[in-house]
Structures are given as structure tokens and as C-alpha cells.
């Protein structure tokens, strides 16, 4: 088996998907259509071990995610283990399921940072997108409780056709909620989001306005809130260096314990994912066939193979390459040099306002 050798740099991030269970039903959710049920979830001890192995391997940040991580009663214990292992702990929450009592326990367990998702700046629209009446208000309340406990807060907003005109209002909302940072994340089309792509995709004109708006807002709010953005890649010329490159910076563990190089990697058929129940995280990082599948450059096809940007964007996203061209080794067709780029351009042409298929 290919051994990447002692020079393989360690990962710095771990996305721990503690559960797929979630009270919300966001149509842009990137969880897979086949959600992993509670019965197959890793138990507390397994997660505790994963946190220690991650820290020893070099991981610095752990993002506790899902689904809704608060759906697990042992969240506090997992946080305590991660924090005790020296990891920087970030809780990514929908805001539903956390109470002041649980926030106190999380603080005491060493939680470093909280990220709350918001669906829109308008209550009606926000609740409609989340598929949950009252979600908007509960998130406001939770943010106040979070800030009162001196947790640093990030607001994450996924941007798509229904809210793309309100980016400035969403930033304003994040400021009111007391966030020090906001992520304006244009929808990425995996999982449920791929199913809902036609209903979510904004027009090119809308995207251009939103991108310019973010630049303007950054200048306006400098020093008050950090605005990070995830680019709308269907409308770009070059792809993103997905995850900083496959198997280069981070790993993802699913609720059942499968270790993935990225969140959507299971959409590529034929990859052999190892489980943390059977292998140590270090063994997985170094030897798992799925992690080694797209490391280096030997797997690349033209035009990436001879492209001078290959060390910069690594040919873009493997999952997107597979989903849109049927070949995971192809250039990400978001790239205008890809022979399949026309297909992306066609998909980026805006569709009808169809009803959402809410995530189950």
C-alpha cells in the first residue's frame, strides 16, 4: 500500500459530526440523503478516544457539528474530553436544543467558541427555510444566552435565492446578536442542497450584487465584525482549493465513525473509508485508501495535470468533479478550463422557484 512517508504533514482540523439528527430541515443541508440513524452512532467513549488521538496527531481545532450536536446528551462530556486533550473546541449549532443550563455546563467543560446558523434576517422567511416555526426567535434567545456567558460567537448564514438580497440585513442581525464574526456561505451543492439545487440557485446578477455587497460591508464594519465568505463557486472562473486539498489539512468523522477527507466524500463511489472504530486516527490519516486516493498529483487528468495552478487549487473539489462529470479525477468543472464547464454554466442558469424538499 502507498505510504505517504514521514513527510506527510499532520491535519490541523477535525470536523466531528456527532449526529445526523436535527430538529431543522434546511433545504441547503449538505448532509447525505441517507442520514445515519441514532442506532449506529459512535458512543461517548469512542468520541473521547477520537479527541485524544486527534490532538496527538496534530489537530488544533475540532468543530463539533451534525446534524444538531445538542441532540446528543453526552455533548458536554465530549467537549470536556476535547478541551482536556488541548483542542480548540467550536460548537456548530442550529440553536435548537441548547438551554442556559447546558450552556453553563459547556462553559465549565471548556468549550471555546459557538457558531449559530441563521437562515434569514426576516423571521417569516427564516422559519420557512428552516422548516421550523419559531426557530428564528429561539436563535435570538440563544445568542443572548451565549454572549451573556462570554462565549465568542460566530453567525453562519447560508446564502441562496431566497435570502441573497438581504446579505446586509443578515450582517446587521449578526451584530445585534453580538457576533464577533459572520460567515456568509454561498450554498454548496451536496446532499440535500444538490436535491434542491434548482430552487436554491441564485442568478448570476444576484451573485454579483451579493459579492460586491460583502466587500462594501467589510469596509463599513471593519473593527466591529469579521466577515468571512465562502464563494459561490458555480459562478466562478476557477475552483476553490477544496478543504485546502484532499487529505492535506483536515478530516471528518461521520456519526457512525467513518473518517472522510471531506464532508461530501461519500458521494464518490468506490472509495474505501476506514472507521475510527477499527483504526486509530493516525493510521487513517496515513494509510486509509480514501485519504490517499487524491493526494499528490499522480491521479490528475488534463487539463489539471499540466496546469500551473495545480499546486494552488489541486484541481478543485473531487466530489463536485464526480457529481457533475461522473469522473472524480476530472478537473472540477467550475474551472473554465474544464471541457465540462458548459454544464456548470447551464446549471447556474437560474431555475423556477420550486418548493423545497426539506431535509428529513
Amino acid at each position: 500500500m502507498l505510504d505517504p512517508g514521514p513527510l506527510l504533514p499532520p491535519p490541523s482540523g477535525l470536523l466531528a459530526e456527532l449526529t445526523h439528527r436535527c430538529p431543522l430541515g434546511c433545504p441547503y443541508c449538505s448532509n447525505p440523503l441517507a442520514l445515519e440513524p441514532k442506532s449506529v452512532e459512535l458512543d461517548t467513549l469512542a468520541w473521547v478516544r477520537v479527541m485524544h488521538e486527534a490532538s496527538a496527531l496534530g489537530v488544533l481545532h475540532v468543530h463539533l457539528s451534525g446534524g444538531e450536536p445538542a441532540a446528543r446528551r453526552d455533548l458536554e462530556e465530549i467537549v470536556r474530553a476535547a478541551s482536556g486533550a488541548g483542542l480548540y473546541t467550536n460548537l456548530i449549532t442550529s440553536g435548537i436544543g441548547l438551554t442556559p443550563v447546558r450552556l453553563d455546563a459547556l462553559k465549565e467543560a471548556g468549550l471555546d467558541h459557538i457558531q449559530i446558523s441563521v437562515q434569514d434576517a426576516e423571521q417569516g422567511s427564516a422559519d420557512r427555510i428552516a422548516g421550523y416555526a419559531g426557530a428564528f426567535r429561539r436563535k435570538q434567545k440563544l445568542a443572548a444566552d451565549v454572549v451573556a456567558r462570554c462565549f465568542p460567537l460566530t453567525v453562519n448564514a447560508v446564502i441562496h435565492r431566497a435570502n441573497i438580497g438581504r446579505v446586509a440585513d443578515i450582517v446587521e442581525l449578526a451584530l445585534e446578536m453580538g457576533a464577533g464574526r459572520i460567515e456568509i456561505a454561498h450554498a454548496q451543492y451536496y446532499g440535500w442542497a444538490l436535491k434542491n439545487r434548482a430552487a436554491l440557485m441564485p442568478s448570476r446578477a444576484q451573485v454579483e450584487v451579493a459579492v460586491a455587497e460583502v466587500e462594501r460591508l467589510r469596509a463599513v464594519h471593519r473593527g466591529r465584525i469579521v466577515i468571512d465568505s465562502v464563494a459561490p463557486d458555480y459562478h466562478a472562473r476557477y475552483p476553490k482549493p477544496c478543504m485546502g486539498g484532499w487529505g492535506r489539512r483536515s478530516l471528518n468523522v461521520t456519526p457512525a465513525g467513518r473518517a472522510l477527507p471531506c464532508h461530501a466524500a461519500e458521494s464518490i463511489p468506490g472509495l474505501d473509508f476506514w472507521s475510527v472504530a477499527e483504526h486509530s486516527l493516525e493510521d487513517i490519516w496515513r494509510h486509509s485508501p480514501a485519504f490517499n486516493a487524491f493526494r499528490g498529483e499522480a491521479w490528475m487528468r488534463e487539463p489539471c495535470r499540466s496546469c500551473e495552478r495545480r499546486g494552488q487549487d489541486f484541481g478543485g473539489c473531487r466530489c463536485q468533479a464526480f457529481l457533475l462529470t461522473g469522473d472524480a479525477r476530472a478537473a472540477d468543472p467550475v474551472c473554465h478550463l474544464s471541457p465540462n464547464h458548459e454544464r456548470v454554466a447551464a446549471l447556474a442558469a437560474v431555475g423556477e422557484d420550486e418548493p423545497y424538499l426539506h431535509r428529513a
Binding site: A56, L57, L60, Y88, P152, G180, D228
Partner: protein, 98 residues
């Protein structure tokens, strides 16, 4: 010494909320961690940041390091000030008033 520097000398630097300093064997040294951000620290930066607890003043930190490194105080002061100013701009360090 300018007025600014005097204020700074009495200010007490500390890591901003949500920022953590840690040593990672596997990453080969000290790192400053904030949400989604990582700053690798060299040995001297780590010594400075370990003292940024909100208790010691800028002047005390400089005195301390000048002793440890047996280096001229002005030189240390310049380095520490440059480091803290750049980290403060990135909102990783805060300097409280005296």
C-alpha cells in the same frame, strides 16, 4: 518616549476572548488559536504570549524578557510592541488601559 508608548507601556495585554495559546508536538511548536485561524509562533513570540494574561503590563513583560534573553531593553520593547500591535489588529490580543 511618546505619549502613546507610555500608555502602551502601562497597558496590560491579554489574549482576546476565544483565543488560546497551545503547544503541539505534532505541529512542531507553539500556536495561537482563534476560530478558524491558526498563527504559528516562534519561541520568542510564545514567551511574549504566555505573559499576555491581563496581569502583567507591557513594561513588566519587556523587563522580564530582557532579563531572560539578556538583551537590550529597547530592542525587546520594539519587538514586543510590533508583535502585539500586529496581533491586536487581527483581534487576537487586547490591551487594557493601565
Amino acid at each position: 518616549m511618546s505619549v502613546d508608548t507610555i500608555i502602551f507601556a502601562e497597558g496590560k495585554p491579554r489574549l482576546a476572548r476565544g483565543v488560546r495559546l497551545r503547544h503541539s508536538e505534532a505541529q512542531g511548536g507553539w500556536v495561537l488559536l482563534a476560530p478558524e485561524r491558526i498563527f504559528e509562533c516562534d519561541a520568542v513570540a510564545a514567551e511574549v504570549l504566555k505573559r499576555c494574561t491581563g496581569e502583567a503590563s507591557f513594561g513588566q513583560i519587556v523587563d522580564d524578557l530582557a532579563t531572560i534573553y539578556d538583551a537590550p531593553r529597547e530592542q525587546i520593547a520594539g519587538d514586543v510592541e510590533a508583535l502585539l500591535a500586529s496581533l491586536a489588529e487581527k483581534r487576537l490580543v487586547e490591551v487594557s488601559d493601565a
